[in-house]
């Protein structure tokens, strides 16, 4: 990223302490199947502060210039996963990308994430993505019926902590070159969510999931390009999670360490 004048000013905490707003050009890939044969690029100039989000820029277009611009968004601070899009060629959440983090001497290019059917402007059909997610059985499989909570040590809980952070935004899956060319591939997000259960000491369904992911459209399609890890807005080490699953398949089990609890729970 080039270091623009505004970015250096960002040490100031408050938005109102930022310097005057400046003009940013957005170039957005538009597509409305009701009227367009093909997608096309359209420019918009917006007035932004350095600390504004790309989502704020999109809202300014929609609310003040062109109400037809369509995109998904909800929480606006990076936890709901609605607004993954391609910003300057990189998958990011529009609500987590600040203007000051981009090179605003050049226009900002915004388009829908790739690999999923384009519906309108920045909106894609998420159904194939959720289909892969559902296929890996993303829920705890456990036969016991404890009276209280199941016991799990701090260390056992830590093994799968990283993959519990997933918000299903599809930034990783739609950044994966294998997924672009082979829509049948489960994709990184589904594997991340399988990981979350495979390495959970309370779960009994690991074998089922490892078998599913040992399929020809499973983990072996991963070419470790690390696009997914770079794309994840939650900082999940996606490629590492995929490698963990590969290793578990080769081993034939998750290889979880035995419980490290030395104390007997009082109420157990």
């Amino acid at each position: 990223m080039s270091d623009v004048a505004v970015a250096r000013d960002s040490s100031s905490a408050m938005p109102e302490a930022s310097i005057e707003p400046f003009t940013v050009t957005l170039i957005i890939r538009r597509f409305d199947p009701e009227v367009d044969a093909e997608p096309h690029w359209q420019d918009f100039d917006v007035k932004m502060y350095a600390t504004d989000r790309v989502l704020d820029a999109l809202h300014q277009v929609k609310w003040e210039q062109d109400g037809t611009l369509s995109f998904r968004r909800s929480c606006a601070h990076g936890v709901c996963g609605s607004d993954a899009m391609r910003i300057n060629g990189r998958n990011r959440l529009a609500c987590k990308t600040l203007i000051k983090d981009l090179d605003i001497t050049k226009p900002i290019y915004i388009e829908a994430i790739k690999g999923l059917p384009l519906e309108k402007d920045l909106i894609v059909d998420m159904e194939p993505f959720f289909e892969s997610y559902r296929a890996i059985q993303p829920f705890l499989i456990a036969s016991d019926k404890p009276e209280k909570e199941r016991i799990q040590s701090v260390a056992q809980r830590a093994v799968f902590d990283d993959t519990t952070k997933c918000i299903l935004c599809a930034a990783c899956t739609s950044s994966c070159p294998v997924f672009w060319t082979d829509g049948q591939y489960f994709g990184p997000a589904a594997i991340v969510n399988a990981h979350r259960f495979i390495f959970d000491s309370r779960d009994e369904g690991s074998q089922v999931r490892l078998d599913i992911l040992n399929d020809k459209e499973g983990v072996w399609r991963c070419r470790t390009t690390f696009n997914c890890t770079e794309a994840c807005p939650r900082g999940i080490e996606v490629t590492k999670a995929i490698s963990d699953v590969k290793a578990a398949i080769l081993r034939g089990n998750p290889g979880l360490p035995p419980s490290d609890l030395t104390l007997t729970p009082v109420s157990a």
Binding site: S11, R73, R157
Partner: protein, 617 residues
């Protein structure tokens, strides 16, 4: 369909409406018709918790405006209260008392008792479903301190909040969704519920169906159901500075309001103390639960002056008022002295990275402030509606102080049981959605087992068709974005933490003017597919309606209690106001004087064990 002659048919119509006969999945005159025993509107925590109960026991459908995992339950951070006593002595009776006192005694105590008692199983349910709670060294669910939750009726803070780092809501939302996937729950994603159909049966209005707009296609769907559960969340977008998502526009609450059904305690809106200054993004109270301290410009821990016993862990209404007061009296920090500071620096990098990782990142990302080394600028942010659709403890919706609307249920933030009274305690909302979401699901199934479908009138979709067509064809000069901005700014200025009759009168006038301008809006997107322009216009209609009820109810309550602070009536007045507000839409909302179309009534508070006392911490 009738084969009678047109003249006879119209005569018959005058006395008896015509009903529609259809198969599930039918399309008649372009409208889709569906039939399910239970229809749940909303797929946040409450809706999905209800679906987990109802799904396996009855033919259930969930209509949701967003993909379920986008719901704002996922933004909740700090924890969910339950007196598990995993780390220190605790019991549900203490939790009940704290909830009642936290709500400034406007809580219905029978409901609070259920909340606190059923909390324990609600937590075990979630853990058993797979929720990855943080653990104690013994491998049990860990618990942390939170505002207003105390040991033995206020003696000291107690560790009652079960948590998963500062992403407890995210984990709850994911876990509930995972279990919905497991159970094969039938979701209708990105379907906006816009109306509930009431059919006259033996002279009484009975809910027969929900009408929804399909975002992808612009088509209208009618969902007939025996039981209908509203779990549509809050309406924080009536304010500018808010922790709420853009989509929290109170559609469900607005639908109920427009049917002439009452809304309870709408004047009570919670302002969470620690929103990122200028942005409103939430920083969990769990930070203070872990030991963070609020300071003014001079570095003073000012809460010691206001709440000497529990200091920074006083309930949210109190802390928010103190913060605003500090700033008003010139002790604010920053170049404009317009915020206070949340100091986490003494917690150390490890606590921040492991127990509060998300808020640490929010401060870094959005303000460029690293909480490990410097205090974070914060100010109150509109967070939670204590009021909403009145229900009883079975989550059944009420049409007056005690009459149940058969087959209609509400749970979560859209509902008012009332377990939160005039101020909700932190961690009690994640609890509320689980306890009353589960109850709603179960009671809805129980009702659907014996009830008959209420017939759907032939014109069931006509209101929504009219609403959509009128807005889509609009060619006025006003922009939705501009009207909404003015509403939100005026609500922040006049109906926020401190209110007066004068400020409330001012914003009442604003709302009336905006309602007039709203008639002259222009929707630019005339298409059918993913028309979010149109939906934002519809949402603004709900926001205007709800803002007016909030303000009208607030003007009428001439006292200060919990989240409702009147500068012109600064003390609590139990003699006149120890009762719930019940507001009804009774006339044309466009009439200039709100009293021409809103009427207010009172509903007694249920008191079991705790007589109102002075609220000190």
């Amino acid at each position: 369909m009738s084969t009678e002659s047109p003249s006879k048919k119209s005569t018959a119509k005058a006395v008896e409406p015509e009903y529609l006969e259809f198969e599930d999945g039918a399309v008649i005159d372009g409208v889709h018709y569906h039939r399910h025993d239970v229809v749940i509107v909303g797929a946040g925590g409450a809706g999905m918790r209800a679906a987990i109960e109802a799904g396996p026991k009855a033919n259930t459908a969930v209509i949701t405006k967003l993909y379920p995992t986008r719901s704002h339950t996922g933004a909740a951070q700090g924890g969910m209260a339950a007196a598990l006593a995993n780390v220190e002595e605790d019991n549900w009776e203490w939790h009940t008392f704290d909830t009642v006192k936290g709500g400034d005694y406007l809580v219905d105590q029978d409901a609070a008792e259920i909340l606190a008692k059923e909390a324990i199983d609600a937590i075990y349910d979630l853990e058993n479903m797979g929720l990855p709670f943080n653990r104690t060294p013994e491998g049990k669910i860990d618990q942390r301190r939170f505002g207003g939750h105390t040991r033995d009726h206020g003696k000291a803070p107690v560790r009652r909040a079960c948590y998963a780092a500062d992403r407890t809501g995210h984990m709850i939302l994911q876990t509930l969704f995972q279990n919905c996937v497991k159970l094969g729950v039938n979701f209708f994603n990105e379907y906006y519920a816009l109306d509930i159909v009431m059919t006259k049966v033996k002279g009484k209005d009975r809910p027969s169906a929900v009408v929804a707009y399909e975002l992808a296609t612009g088509e209208i769907h009618v969902f007939q159901a025996k039981s209908i559960i509203f779990a549509t969340g809050g309406f924080g977008k009536i304010y500018k500075t808010t922790s709420n998502a853009h989509t929290l526009t109170g559609d469900g609450v607005g639908i109920i309001w427009r049917k002439g059904l009452p809304l309870e305690d709408m004047e009570f809106f919670q302002f969470h103390p620690t929103g990122l200054a200028g942005l409103g993004i939430l920083l969990t109270e769990g930070a203070r639960g872990e030991g963070a301290i609020l300071r003014n410009a001079s570095g003073e821990r000012f809460m010691e002056r206001y709440a000497p016993t529990i200091k920074d862990l006083a309930p949210r209404d109190i802390i928010s008022r103190c913060m605003v007061q500090e700033v008003a009296e010139g002790r604010g920090a920053g170049p404009l002295k317009d915020y206070v500071l949340l100091d986490c620096t003494h917690l150390g990098a490890e606590v921040l990275e492991t127990k509060l990782p998300d808020i640490t990142e929010f401060a870094r990302t959005y303000l460029g402030v690293d909480p490990v080394v410097e205090p974070v600028p914060v100010m109150p942010t509109a967070h939670y509606a204590m009021g909403g659709i009145p229900t009883n403890i079975k989550a059944e919706v009420l049409s007056d102080n005690d009459t149940v609307v058969p087959g209609l249920y509400a749970a979560g933030e859209c509902a008012c049981v009332s377990v939160h009274g005039s101020n909700r305690l932190g961690t009690n909302s994640l609890l509320d959605i689980n306890v009353f979401g589960k109850r709603a699901g179960n009671y809805a199934v129980e009702y659907a087992k014996t009830a008959e479908f209420v017939p759907v009138p032939v014109n069931a979709a006509s209101f929504v068709q009219g609403l959509v067509e009128e807005l889509r064809d609009s060619n006025g000069t006003e922009r939705i974005g501009a009207l909404r901005k003015e509403l939100q700014e005026q609500m922040d200025l006049n109906a926020q933490v401190f209110r007066t009759d004068e400020s409330l009168a001012k914003v009442t006038e604003t709302i009336h003017t905006l309602r007039g301008r709203y008639k002259n809006v222009s929707i630019q997107d005339k298409g059918r597919r993913f028309n979010t322009d149109l939906l934002e216009a519809i949402e603004l209609g709900f926001l205007l309606d709800l803002a007016e009820v909030v303000v009208y109810s607030a003007r009428n309550r001439q006292e200060s209690r919990g989240g409702h602070q009147r500068d012109d009536y600064p003390t609590r007045d139990d003699a006149h106001y120890m009762k719930h507000t019940m507001a009804y839409l009774t006339g044309d909302p466009h009439s200039a004087d709100a009293s021409d179309h809103i009427s207010l009534d009172w509903k007694p508070v249920v008191i079991t064990n705790y007589q109102p006392m002075e609220r000190k911490y």
